[in-house]
């Protein structure tokens, strides 16, 4: 594993030790769950709109404009609480196959979102009100659904391996 010394140092840091051996760990974990339900739930609403399944009386751009800020806010909370748990046993998590899979899926979800924003969403004006969204938007929505489902699964699985 690269940067082994850094991860060991991070784990040994008094703050990490304090979180790991106090009520902070379960507290951060429960905050993490609240945050991810909001991340996944709000993404689900946008995905279902992109797939042409739900929320069709609103345009896709309205949906993304109004929901994305909440997704990002919840994501930041999930990231901070997740890092707080990660530091308590950093080297162990990095060698955990479920955690590794989760990181890969998170990366893929980011790529999927970036591609959608930079490419498909650019000409949103052409398909904004149409219930039948273009194939590229449907693919992005379906991929996002699967990826976030996988992120939940591998995240939950991480705790079963440690």
């Amino acid at each position: 594993m690269p940067f082994t010394e850094f991860w060991e140092w991070l784990q040994g840091h008094p703050t990490s030790q304090y979180i790991g051996y106090s009520w902070w760990f379960p507290f951060l974990e429960s905050i993490h769950v609240v945050a991810i339900t909001m991340v996944v739930g709000s993404i689900l609403m946008v995905d279902l709109r992109l797939l042409g399944i739900a929320g069709l009386r609103y345009t896709a751009s309205q949906m993304t404009r109004e929901l994305t800020p909440w997704t990002w806010t919840a994501f930041c909370v999930a990231l901070v609480s997740g890092l707080g748990m990660f530091v308590t046993r950093a080297p162990v998590y990095l060698e955990n196959p479920a955690f590794q899979a989760k990181l890969v899926l998170l990366l893929l979800a980011c790529v999927n979102m970036a591609l959608f924003q930079l490419w498909t969403f650019r000409d949103v004006a052409g398909w904004d009100t149409a219930a039948s969204t273009p194939v590229a938007a449907r693919v992005a929505g379906a991929a996002s659904l699967l990826l976030w489902g996988g992120i939940l699964l591998t995240g939950r699985w991480t705790g079963h391996i440690i």
Partner: protein, 180 residues
């Protein structure tokens, strides 16, 4: 009050006893122990259900509080999103019950589980009130000042209750941490 509380405790004990060493427990234990990956998969389905409930209800609550999705109408949001919640809650009940059947004593003698259920009952009741009144009269929560204010109060309580339900759910596994 004291008698009703002790009756409730009796109910807990009786449920725990009825499930212990029952065939339901045997089946749940067999499935969770022998189907590879079943516990995390079922837990993930539970979290997916919670995500549907949380996003739907939190977004409606934030809309009632005037904090989110300004372009969507309150009554339209309630009638569009709440049915998703009514489908997700049974999914959560089924996935949750599998774990309760497998280890009834872990849940029925756990005060955090009792807290979670109480908060859940209150939260679902509020959601049902919001849904039913809006169904009986479209635009119910937008019409008078008194209704708008009570809608905000309900939304605030609902937010706190649902966050409490989810956090308590996670703390069930840590309850000995809390009390010992």
């Amino acid at each position: 009050m004291v008698t009703s509380f002790s009756t409730l405790m009796d109910l807990h004990e009786r449920l725990a006893n009825a499930l212990s060493d029952s065939q339901a427990q045997e089946l749940a234990r067999y499935l969770l122990g022998n189907v590879p990956g079943l516990p995390p998969v079922v837990q993930t389905l539970h979290i997916v259900g919670i995500s549907v409930v949380m996003a739907s209800i939190v977004m409606i609550d934030l809309r009632l509080l005037g904090m989110a999705v300004p372009s969507q109408s309150i009554s339209e949001m309630i009638s569009r999103l709440m049915p998703w919640t009514w489908w997700a809650l049974p999914l959560n009940a089924v996935t949750g019950l599998l774990f309760i059947f497998a280890r009834p004593n872990r849940y029925f003698y756990n005060p955090v589980f009792g807290i979670k259920l109480s908060l859940l009952v209150a939260a679902v009741t509020l959601a049902a009130v919001v849904y039913q009144l809006n169904r009986r009269e479209t635009g119910y929560w937008e019409q008078t000042l008194a209704r708008r204010i009570s809608g905000r109060a309900i939304a605030g309580c609902s937010l706190v209750l649902w966050i409490g339900v989810v956090m308590a759910g996670r703390w069930i596994a840590y309850w000995d941490y809390l009390f010992y």
